[in-house]
Amino acid sequence: MLIIDCPNCGPRPETEYGYGGQAHVAYPEDPHALTDEEWAQYLFYRDNPKGDYAERWVHSAGCRKWFNAVRDTRTYEISAVYRTGETRSETQKGA
């Protein structure tokens, strides 16, 4: 059970959240300007690192806000949470 520190609501159990995969994958400015390969990258390809991963969560059962977290995919430890639109360093806690 992950306990995730919602930037708005504080620590809550994982069951209150929805997972949104990799963070900072912006919707392309103009999808039509992309090649099929580039569009496929946007649609289907995400990083999948073993280690720190900046990912998106939504606090579905609480404030319903999306936010980002940096989590180590080996230890599952979360080293930072920050609001959508913020960059990681602004609110990063710990190391």
Binding site: R12, P13, A61, G62, K65
Partner: protein
Amino acid sequence: MTMTAPEDTTVEVAAHVPPVDRARVLALRRSPAQGLDEEMRRGSGAAARLREVPFLTQVAIRATPGRDGSLTETLGLDLPTHVGEVAGAGDGNGLAVLWLSPDEFLAVGPDEAESGVSPEAYAGGLAEALGSERGQAVDVSANRTTLELSGSRARSVLEKSCELDLHPRVFPVGAAVATLLGSTGVILWRTGEDTWRVMPRASFATHVVRWLLDGMREYR
């Protein structure tokens, strides 16, 4: 604190129906847990009691604090600013505004039958007060119902399926949060030392009542 009708609201509904008729109309409402009254009475005991507090006026507010037009003025309350905070009547006796997210709030006030203010009119007034600011005020009075769980073991009953820390150090009287009770989303509001409001959405009311009653049986 009582809820007052926002002034200068011209809501069709209020205008349309004469007050005396309105009482007759209000009598036509059926609350989501109404059919479970008897079950709740039977399932209640000294240490844990459950009842429905039906028909509270509820308005869903989306607004950015500080940029809400005359919304707070109209409300007569400042919007709460952090998780758990309830502005106004933390004990539920009067108008209260619950924090749901940095830009989402729930105003809860008395039943129209008590206040004389129709929820539609009230929500309409708030929407108007918001003006052109980003946000929303929507009547959601029927969207959720309010269950009141009280008694010395009320907290234990909740702890059976609520994963939050309900210790008074962490969850004081007058605090409210949106969370899960089992797998059902609810707003949980501590209105007294041993009194809690559990607000599920209307379609979940039967389930939540049965779920709570099941958890109460050992304290009967």
